[in-house]
């Protein structure tokens, strides 16, 4: 489904190496200390960070050299997931086609998608007029329409409070399940990982460990993870 083969990313002194496989529909929490390379890993898979060696496959298609939009991957960043000058309908509509001339049927899909994330009737609002949680919902509505087999989350909900973050993670999980998408999400909170993830992918000092089921990892954490979790 998502396969990373002998990936190598070099950034100055820092080297990231990864080789792993995630099955379709699995939800993977990416966890590890700051500076370990979590964002670099997602950036490389998403096509934003140049890769020195290795291949990336999405649904058995080699996407290593594809542009970010041609990889079958949707990605949410820490911030800047919406264009501030566009309405929510336009922002979400960009997920359907990047030229923004939508048919009536497509507009109906945009509205339905907004309604799915609890933003019914918010079509004409702009990101500046709504709360941070609502902005996250709108970004998710776009991901829903993009309908990509892989979803990468680079801590898009980090700025939200704990309750709101849990709510958004649940919503993301539901949305991803419906679309049968494979999810890689960076998180700093082990509780979040327990709550929504199937597998845990531990990144430590540029080394990416093979993902394993969360309960298994938590029950018997490897040395690096134990140090990170602090128990």
């Amino acid at each position: 489904m998502l396969r990373v083969e002998d990936l190598k990313v070099q950034q100055g002194d820092f080297t990231l190496q990864a080789s792993f496989d995630v099955a379709r529909g699995r939800q993977v929490a990416v966890i590890g200390p700051s500076g370990a390379g979590k964002s670099t890993l997602l950036g490389a898979i998403g096509g934003f960070v140049p890769v020195q060696a290795g291949r990336i496959f999405v649904e058995d298609r080699d996407v290593t050299d594809a542009t970010p939009d041609q990889r079958g991957i949707a990605m949410l960043f820490q911030d800047g997931n919406l264009f501030p000058h566009l309405t929510l309908a336009q922002n979400v509509g960009l997920g359907l086609r990047p030229a923004l001339r939508l048919t009536a049927e497509e507009q109906a899909r945009v509205s339905a998608s907004l309604a799915r994330v609890g933003l019914q009737g918010f079509e004409d609002r702009r990101p500046g007029d709504i709360s941070g949680g609502q902005q996250s919902r709108a970004a998710l509505a776009r991901v829903l329409l993009q309908d990509r087999p892989v979803l990468l989350l680079d801590e898009p909900f980090a700025a939200l409070g704990p309750a709101l973050r849990s709510e958004m993670l649940d919503l993301t999980r539901d949305v991803a399940c419906e679309a049968q998408a494979t999810v890689l999400m960076i998180t700093h909170a082990p509780d979040d990982a327990r709550r929504v993830a199937d597998d845990l992918l531990f990144v430590d000092a540029g080394q990416v460990h093979t993902p394993r089921p969360v309960s298994e990892m938590m029950a018997d954490p490897p040395a690096g993870l134990r140090a990170y979790l602090g128990d």
Binding site: G46, G47, F48, V49, P50, V51, D65, T67, P68, D69, Q70, A74, M75, F77, G80, N81, L82, F83, P84, H85, L86, Q90, L94, G95, P98, A99, L100, R126, P127, G128, D129
Partner: protein, 518 residues
């Protein structure tokens, strides 16, 4: 970023840059080929060089020297109409040169207001024609510009520093040395250099107020060689001179030029605790009052005499106004298709050296480019038939350095802020411009387009070189009316021209300001 992840391509910008260089280079080669070897510089040419440098130096010097106290007074006083005055300081930049000359003539001319006052007091009359008139007009145009630039520098001083000054009760001399002098040292050389370069290629002012052996700029000499003697060889030699003089100055200026902000004078209230003395306060008032008088009275006189002349406008004025409007539309369009890709290319590249390309238009003077293109077209077609398109192209080239300077910072910001998301969504090419970039730079874009349109409407340059009696832009038509002593009609035309320039600027600027959330 991975290969192809950049949301906008560099190629259109590189093509635009090549086109610009080619347009200037073609003119240059044509002139070089035409200027026969062994044609030495005669006394007249030396005199033109000397006068060009002399008037540019004094115009810049006087503008800056007068601007410093006015800017200082504006920075520490709040008078009624403060905001309006600062907005008006931007007016000379879009004011058609010939309109300003008309206003200056009404005040300082032979039958002007000043001479009326002097005559009543039994003092000898002054003449505006000649070298000092050229400098006076340049100061009128550039003193407000310098004031705004210096005011910007002043307003960049952290308020805490003035609070500290007030708390310590420092005397004015110490305030000057510790707070004001460092600012001036930063801003003044840039303002001086900018004005110096702008005045080097001055044509319309020299044409109307200068002339004669003692007040002819190189630019005016090109025109005279071309228009009066049809001496292409001499025009070519002069063009080369102009390129050497203005080109080297522009290159030097590029490194000291201050950034041009969209809102020239931000109107941030600045609380000051120093300069409370009655003497300083009245001196400030005097400077603001004198500055405002100098700026406003010619404008006011254009308004008054224009209203009188409005009834006597010949039909030719309206036809010329229509022509000018078309040239402005064409120039603005040309500017946009050159400036947007070019700026995008500059925004993507790490080093800013490419901006030098835009200065080519400024260094190679309008009349030099016009002369070159005339030489190129002459063997094949009637250059007069192409007068209007060439004028539009040259106008766009002249506005280019300003437009790029205005657009580059916001465009760079837009690419930084939204490039990643755009790449993730597959936005690129025209869709990227339409959906992301243009909305993000809408305000500065409207401002730059407005500047170009206004400059183009008011331009009296290449068109004077090419035009036959049947074709005229409004500034040229107005110049002809002035030349045939139809003063009232010329005054009416000045008002129409002023209104047209302000209208096109306002239209573009208002488009840019139309509220875009975020």
């Amino acid at each position: 970023m991975a290969r192809g992840a950049q949301p906008i391509s560099r190629w259109p910008g590189i093509v635009a840059a090549v086109l610009i260089v080619a347009a200037v280079l073609a003119a240059f080669v044509a002139i070089f080929w035409r200027a026969e070897a062994g044609t030495g510089l005669r006394a007249a040419e030396w005199q033109a060089i000397r006068f060009t440098l002399w008037q540019a130096f004094f115009s810049a010097l006087i503008s800056v020297v007068l601007a410093v106290p006015v800017a200082r007074a504006l920075a520490r006083r709040r008078l009624p109409g403060h905001t309006l005055l600062i907005t008006l300081l931007g007016a000379p930049f879009i004011l058609p040169v010939i309109v300003a000359v008309m206003g200056l003539l009404t005040i300082f001319g032979r039958n002007g207001w000043l001479n009326a006052v002097l005559g009543a007091l039994g003092l000898p009359e002054v003449s505006i024609y000649g070298a000092h008139g050229v400098v006076l007009a340049h100061v009128f145009f550039n003193m407000p510009l310098a004031t705004r630039l210096i005011l910007q520098g002043w307003q960049a001083v952290p308020a805490e520093r003035f609070r500290l000054v007030g708390q310590l009760g420092l005397p004015p001399r110490v305030v000057f040395r510790t707070v004001e002098w460092p600012i001036l040292r930063q801003v003044v050389p840039g303002a001086f250099a900018l004005i110096f370069v702008l005045c080097l290629t001055s044509f319309a002012v020299a044409l109307t107020l200068g002339g004669g052996p003692r007040a002819t700029t190189i630019e005016l000499a090109i025109y005279q060689a071309f228009r009066f003697d049809f001496d292409l060889n001499r025009a070519a030699v002069l063009s080369l001179l102009q390129l050497c003089v203005a080109g080297s100055a522009a290159l030097v200026a590029l490194w000291v030029l201050p950034p041009l902000a969209v809102q020239g004078g931000q109107d941030r209230p600045l609380q000051r605790w120093d300069g409370k003395g009655a003497l300083i306060r009245s001196a400030d008032m005097l400077w603001i009052g004198a500055g405002a008088m100098f700026l406003l009275s010619p404008l006011l006189s254009v308004l008054l005499s224009g209203l009188i002349g409005l009834g006597q406008l010949p039909l030719s004025v309206w036809a010329a106004a229509w022509t000018s409007l078309w040239i402005a539309v064409l120039s603005t369009f040309m500017l946009l298709i050159l400036a947007l890709p070019l700026t995008a290319w500059l925004a993507l590249s790490k080093r800013g050296g490419g901006e030098g390309i835009t200065m080519l238009g400024l260094a190679a003077s309008p009349l030099m480019i016009g002369t070159g293109w005339f030489i190129l077209i002459y063997p094949f077609a009637d250059p007069q038939a192409l007068a209007l398109p060439i004028t539009a192209i040259v106008n766009a080239l002249m506005a280019l350095p300003f437009a790029v300077r205005i657009l580059l910072p916001p465009l760079r910001q837009a690419v930084t802020d939204h490039g990643r998301l755009s790449a993730a969504l597959g936005l690129r090419g025209l869709a990227m411009w339409r959906i992301v970039l243009v909305p993000r730079i809408r305000r500065p874009l409207g401002f730059a387009a407005g500047l170009t349109a206004a400059l183009s409407v008011g331009d009296l340059g290449v068109i004077a070189l090419f035009a036959d009696p049947d074709v005229a832009t409004l500034p040229l038509q107005m110049y002809r009316l002035m030349g045939s002593y139809r003063t009232d009609a010329a005054a009416g035309a000045a008002l129409v021209l002023l209104a047209l320039a302000l209208a096109v600027f306002w239209l573009c600027d208002a488009w840019g300001r139309r509220d875009v959330a975020g």
